[in-house]
Amino acid sequence: MKRLLIPGTLVALILLAALAAPLLGLPDPVRQDIAHRLAGPMEGSPLGRDEFGRDVFSRLIWGARTSLGVAFASALIAGVIGTAFGLIGGWFRGLGELLTVRSMDVILCFPPVLLALLVVTLMGPGAGTLILVLSVLYLPGFARVTYAEVLSARSHDYVEAVRALGAPAPRILLRTVLPNVAGPVLVQLSLAVASAVVLESGLSFLGLGVVPPAPSWGLMIRGARATMEQAPMLLFWPCAVLTLTILAMNLLCDALRDAVDPRTGGTRSRLRARDRLLPGLLPAAKPAPDTVLAVRGLTVEIDTPRGPIRPVQDVSFDVRAGETLAIVGESGSGKSVTTTALMGLLPSVARIAAGEAWLGGTELLRLPEEGMRRLRGGAMSMVFQDPMSSLNPVHRTGDQVAEAILAHRPISRAEAWRQAEALFRRVGIADPERRMRAFPHEMSGGMKQRVMIAMALANRPKLLICDEPTTALDVTVQAQILDLLAELRRDTGTAIIFITHSLGVVAEIADRVAVMYAGQIVEQGSVAEVFQAPLHPYTRALLAAVPEGDTPPAGIPGIVPPPHAFPEGCRFAPRCAHARPKCSAGALPLEEAGPGRDVRCARWQELACRSEEVPA
């Protein structure tokens, strides 16, 4: 909104001056006074006189009236008709669309100035001709914008809902569609006005727009050109005023567009590489000998307009060779941020605030980018959630896999391609020669995810991180991918971190599980133990919420708190049936509850005793 202020005020002032021109008591802008031809600043003429002795200041103000008058008139005419066309075309489609929107596109085949010149040839120059031409020129813009917005609004469920409620078409168009279309149309209007000012002045400059002696900025520049050696300021003033007006309008357009489009609004990110704390502030890890990855006290901080937040706090876990660790949690639990941090792929606004992570003998969190790059796709690799968007649409899938091999090993392209083919075969893609030459859009979602897995396996990683790799897929395809991952782990001994929100998937694939809630691990242990005898009330509630057939699922009251509102002490306490005042007293540690079994709950021992009486 702040960005609207300066250009908005400027445009308002210019408009005001143009509107108030007759009230300002200015000298007649067309009255000639040859005696004062090209005179400098003088009494009553602060900016001097032009080649016919007319007052320059007065002509500037009156010129604004002409330019803006033409611009606004044409933009408004085009706006009203074009928006109506777009609404009709977008709502009724079919023939209506052809007549109102598609037909307009032909106008876009002409360079604007030329279409204007064609009409001027026929009708002669003048303000009326200009308004006609300009409104025709801007019609398709409005029709297209409105049309596209109506189509997008139509596809929204809330429009369908109003239809289902039984509202008639005109009511839906005016009450539901139009308000949601208004923003882009407003932006288009300001664009059209700014562009019309440019075109009007250009045509007037050529002597084909406004007819002299009427004042117009374009005409003033045209006139001043002839005498620019004697009186350069005469050229300067209209140029400056014209440029300033267009600049203010353009800035206003940009600000309006940002205000209307939620995608571009929001926070300005500060660019900053992550800060490098000195390692060794925390006790060193004492991982078991076959541990592939040991994470201790990982904390991620993100700067937001409301202050720094910590979406991940004090996360510790180990992954051993050949083991699958599932990290399970609902949205906002911090599970993806955790793995993104381990891969060194955090966005620039986020930084590691504390903790360490050892991959073999290498500490990941403070490794320089080049060292991290060598590990990524090499010793540790990652499969992402959405295979549709995670592959580059313009490269062949085979090339994308071969590229991963070439990034880590000094072999020939042909050799890399051969190895990629073996990988395609390995992940169960039939006819790999042909599939490798296919582009991502020619493949199904399951197939693309197989390509992503082939890519991740390219350099025989010690650790494979899978971030919800099956969430975007259908169940039957999900089963295929889970099966493939289990088989790969068996054959290669790769350790896997599997992020998911589905407890069913955890039960299918994992050996051990870490349950995350609001940025912290609340419980971890072997899947069998955690699912048979959950220690944390959240784990228990989560298990009870899964529909499994006979007992109706029980929801957990309330919602997951957002990171800027994490409660003090136990973060689950506000939703927990067993909460006591002591739960919110202070930060809770992750306590060891048995071999390889941790829980973060102030009352876990009391609650465990009680639940032993009632079989789970």
Partner: protein, 316 residues
């Protein structure tokens, strides 16, 4: 391949539509077109002159016959003769078009060379000093109309500093150095708007591309920053830039008329403006059709390039 043929087919259909609309403009204006073309400032033109003009424009014949003759003339490359000096329109265009094309080409090259690297660099260092200065400059350049820039360039470089000629034209064969010197200022004026548009588009497109999942994948593969940038970010960011470039050519072609006028560059705009002032209808139609055709052709080329860069388009 089918896609290419289809796209060419669409272009031909559009060219036909453009020709039809140009033809219809003459007949859609209220009143007798001949009378309209001869009238100046509300005075009734001489009836004999009107009759003669109607005869010369073939307005007496049935509309459909006129339309047929117009279209068949177009396919044969016959654009009629000037009303003023009976000079064949096509010959005039053939003489002038290469000069206009040269100007456009020079301006476009200049813009691409400056704007693509600058836009990419600004996006990669978003919020930095270069980004702010370049973005501000682009906003300013967009706001200054091309004829203002041209006139100011002449005022400062030619009139005040006297380091550049004020305008004009010398054939390349006669004096290559002088030719290029004279080309510099108009090409610069053309490049100013286009480079600003290209800069902004490149910057936005690279920023968008940077945030895509496949860039994250490329980084997760362990590719070097350079390879991620060239193969995944810039490669994907280029396609939308191409489309915008094609669409913006319309404004550019219009701007060329003004630039040629300001710098006395004897391209198509000289006969065009003379013809508009003299209401020389066949000449105006000929030039408008030529430039519109050029516009369609450029967009066709851009779309084909786009398809070459983005495999998804070919499948659609």
């Amino acid at each position: 391949m089918l896609w290419v043929l289809r796209r060419i087919g669409i272009s031909i259909a559009l060219a036909w539509l453009v020709a039809t609309i140009v033809f219809m403009t003459l007949h859609m204006v209220p009143g007798d077109p001949a009378e309209l073309l001869l009238s100046t400032g509300g005075t009734m033109p001489d009836p004999a002159a009107v009759a003669e003009l109607r005869e010369r424009l073939g307005l007496e014949r049935p509309l459909l016959e006129q339309y047929g003759a117009f279209l068949s003339g177009l396919t044969r490359g016959d654009l009629g003769v000037s009303l003023i000096d009976e000079y064949p329109v096509l010959e005039e265009i053939a003489l002038r078009l290469p000069r206009t094309l040269e100007l456009i080409l020079a301006g476009t090259l200049l813009s691409v060379v400056v704007a693509l690297p600058a836009g990419t660099y600004a996006a990669l260092h978003r919020g930095g000093a270069f980004d702010r200065i370049a973005s501000g400059l682009a906003a300013l350049l967009l706001a200054v109309p091309v004829f203002v820039v041209g006139t100011l360039l002449i005022l400062v470089l030619a009139q005040m500093l006297r380091i550049m000629p004020a305008g004009g034209y010398v054939a390349l064969a006669d004096d290559p150095l002088r030719h290029l010197t004279l080309l510099a200022m108009p090409a610069l004026a053309i490049a100013k708007g286009l480079s600003a548009v290209l800069f902004r588009m490149t910057r936005a497109s690279v920023l968008d591309s940077l945030s895509r999942d496949y860039v994250r994948t490329a980084r997760a593969k362990g590719l070097t920053a350079r390879r991620v940038l060239v193969h995944h970010v810039v490669r994907n960011a280029l396609t939308p830039v191409l489309t915008v470039l094609g669409l913006h050519m319309g404004t550019l072609l219009g701007g060329t008329v003004l630039v040629e006028y300001v710098f006395n560059w004897p391209g198509l705009s000289t006969p065009l403006l003379r013809a508009v002032e003299a209401r020389d209808y066949p000449m105006v139609v000929g030039i408008v059709l030529t430039i519109s055709g050029l516009f369609l052709l450029i967009n066709l080329i851009m779309d084909l390039l786009y398809a070459a860069l983005d495999p998804r388009i070919r499948a659609a």
